[in-house]
Subunit: 474 residues, 2 copies
């Protein structure tokens, strides 16, 4: 038992103790620094966690105003969650104390297990067997931990320089610490996060457990995952089918190549899965597959911020024909088809400027020569969005060097906002990074996602359309 | 003649008059504003163009301290280049005056030609026929123009908010104005630019002419191109074969899909080319094909800043195993293979921290627990770079929230700089965008390209390796 690391059905799977603990024991070094228990407690307090925090360290004393206990055995109250960051060899003993204290959830930050060597793998098997026997669930080992934005649970073991994340509907799970707060500038993201989980070596709690948990988590509407391996292919497929009918699941899986799979096995100690099998599972399970690391953080925005497209008829407004062609190419890959404007819209646009009323709508020729172009801009955007032939819109904004475009763009989006049940994705470009960023931030504040390049904007819309089809059972 | 727009061999092809004119006539509105002749002249003067500038407008008067002539006929001196930004219908007459004045190079910014309608297409054919007859070369129409950073030639027709571009070895040519200064924050790019050219409708001067010109241009070492169509497939292939043996050619071609090709024909009036034929031409011609718009500006950095890899053995240093796996996957796509460390390097690294001496080198476990980690960092980088089994290195840097890593990273790169003839690509990540940017800018200042995501860094190295093979004739 435990050797293959597969969990039994009888084992309680629900990870809610991890994300809604009333009390946390933080076991490890409490020395002031940039890593360890000191940072975990600082982060929890700063993020507004309201539960009890028990610092555990033989040093006794006080840290961040909290009494330090020499061991969890000394804590009289119940403890829901233990976060362990001690030398790997000391883990079995502390896990024993956790069992005595009836702790059922452990985040095992410590490394030096299956990812390190044979001895570490043996140690990992030992703790898994023990935990299973005593009904303890483990996230990790070799994990950067978890976050729950709805209760200030951000026990980040590394100093991230910030503690509160914007709360929102995107859950980000990952088989690497690269998605935790110390690695990523979450405050600069347009999207809000519900949960973060780094599975680490995934010795117990895995992607299937998290999917089942997130399925029922009311804060989560979109799931974005980085995986290197799948623990149980059959269960994974079954769960994906069920969950994807309600919430979009986006997965980046590395180890796509034989070489990558080998590299994965060596660093997590987990068996990688043949990519063809995974691809088939994604397709049957309604999973949207990602291809780039940054996509984990960027593509969920479309689901978090916009309605789904009802069909595949893509409208494009742009300042140059070139982007229209790029968007057409890219859209085709995802089953999007550039639409034709209805006669009505075409007439409205041609009335604004001769030749404007064709798709892709190219405002390039008009912009430099029509004096009141900016005051007309909202009408152009509204007309195209309202067109009965348009299911989804890709809008390209040029931020000129003076910043004079900004207010007209914002006004146009404000006017469109209440109006429509169609998705709108945007790319902003221009000669001044600051102005580009300013427009992007203001649009995202209004609820309209802005993407970092034209291909990603179209890809987002393409995934949204695919998900429409998945929801329809197609 | 002229109908198909194919130029004759007898026609003088050399575009050097465009990029090294001793004098320029700027023909069009000179009204103060954000578009037009007023901006062109301001931009030329601010960029440091030293040739003569003749503003041409019936208004007479003075603009930016320069006398305005009512027509080019009134200018007594010779004019090398005319930049025309007037109503399309008035173009034939002005082109006639250019011919009388023996002007041989015209940048035709005006739109309303083949990209607009049948009437515009007819007009375009008319001017092409006339120009050919009189030995005039045209860039455009419907172009945002050209740039030459070596002589301050930046006649940008749109107010870009900046005028000088960093001079360097990358030529960017494009069948859209999206690559001109008003569209892109060139001052924020790590790379320096030699020439920019927007072909516009490509009625005369085309990709082949530019490739031949750039082949001989000593300032240009890398060519990055966005194309929607190829004018003459056979000539293109022949020229690419010759030029790619000396300078890398990177091409993004849109109109990859049938739908995209149609969109392209409608906005440029040019015939698109079957993508399979283009793909074959790229492969035979030694062209490196790009897939994303931003790649036009980002991927040339590897060629502009780093030596070519001698082989495909890729080293990786990273803070997490996850990135190692992603990089392994991505590298495999480009024929890169993650290498094994030599015994010597392995021993050095294991001496620094147990288990560090395996590839991918994962400094994650060491960083939080080894006190003098930062002082050891340069030794780690140097040892891996010096390893006889490493042809190329992908280095991942974590910028922690305090900024304390920065100086050690910079020091390490400074030490490696003089040492090696191997290429090094970098990705920086962390919780603070400002610190990440700071490290990236300082590394690029040292000559080490930093890429926006791990996949792009590996792709850059992959293209460099492909180009090594192209140079070897493989």
């Amino acid at each position: 038992m435990g050797k293959k690391g597969t969990s039994k059905r009888s084992h309680k799977r629900d990870p809610s103790l991890f994300f809604d603990p009333r009390s946390i024991a933080v076991i490890g070094s409490l020395r002031e620094g940039l890593f360890g228990g000191y940072v975990v407690i600082k982060s929890l307090l700063s993020a507004g966690y309201r539960g009890e925090i028990y610092p555990i360290n033989p040093s006794n004393g006080v840290v961040h105003g909290l009494r330090v206990y020499p061991s969890i055995k000394e804590v009289e109250a119940d403890i829901d969650l233990a976060l362990i960051m001690i030398n790997a060899r000391a883990v079995p003993q502390v896990l024993g104390e956790c069992a005595e204290k009836s702790i059922k959830a452990v985040v095992l930050v410590s490394d030096g297990f299956a990812e390190r060597d044979q001895e570490g793998a043996r140690l990992q098997n030992e703790i898994v067997a023990f935990a299973r026997e005593r009904g303890i669930r483990i996230i990790g080992p070799n994990t950067a931990g978890i976050v729950n934005t709805s209760n200030g649970l951000n026990p980040c073991p590394y100093e991230a320089g910030y503690y509160k994340l914007k709360a929102g509907s995107v859950a980000i799970c990952s088989q690497t610490g690269m998605s935790n707060p110390q690695a990523f500038p979450y405050p600069d993201l347009g999207l809000g996060v519900s949960k973060i989980c780094d599975f680490g070596n995934k010795c117990d709690l895995d992607e299937c457990d998290m999917l089942e948990y997130l399925e029922k988590d009311p804060a989560t509407q979109v799931i974005s995952m980085y995986l290197e391996s799948i623990r149980d292919g059959r269960r994974f497929l079954e769960i994906c089918k069920r969950v994807s009918a309600q919430k979009p699941i986006l997965i980046l899986k590395s180890g796509r190549t034989e070489e990558g799979a080998k590299a994965s096995e060596s660093h997590t100690g987990a068996m990688a899965v043949d990519d063809k099998i995974f691809e088939a599972a994604c397709s049957q399970g309604g999973v949207l597959r990602l291809r780039e690391f940054n996509a984990l953080f960027e593509l969920p925005k479309i689901f978090a911020m916009q309605p789904l497209p009802r069909g595949n008829r893509l409208g494009i407004i742009s300042y140059t024909g070139g982007v229209g062609v790029l968007a057409t190419d890219e859209g085709t890959r995802y089953g999007l088809a550039v639409t034709r404007l209805s006669r009505k819209t075409s007439e409205i646009l041609n009335g604004i400027f001769p030749g404007l009323g064709v798709m892709p709508v190219d405002i390039g020729p008009m912009a430099p020569v029509v004096k009141d172009f900016l005051s007309l801009y909202p009408k152009i955007l509204k007309s195209v969005m309202a067109d009965e032939n348009v299911d989804a819109l890709f809008n390209v904004l040029w931020a000129d060097s003076t910043g004079m475009h900004t207010e007209s763009y914002i006004k146009a989006y404000e006017e469109v906002k209440g109006d429509t049940q169609k998705p709108l994705v945007t790319w902003v470009y221009g000669p001044d990074k600051g102005l580009v960023r300013d427009i992007a931030e203001r649009l995202e504040y209004l609820g309209f996602p802005v993407f970092s390049d034209p291909e990603t904007a179209i890809k987002a819309m393409g995934l949204a359309f695919r998900y429409t089809r998945i929801r329809e059972g197609k």
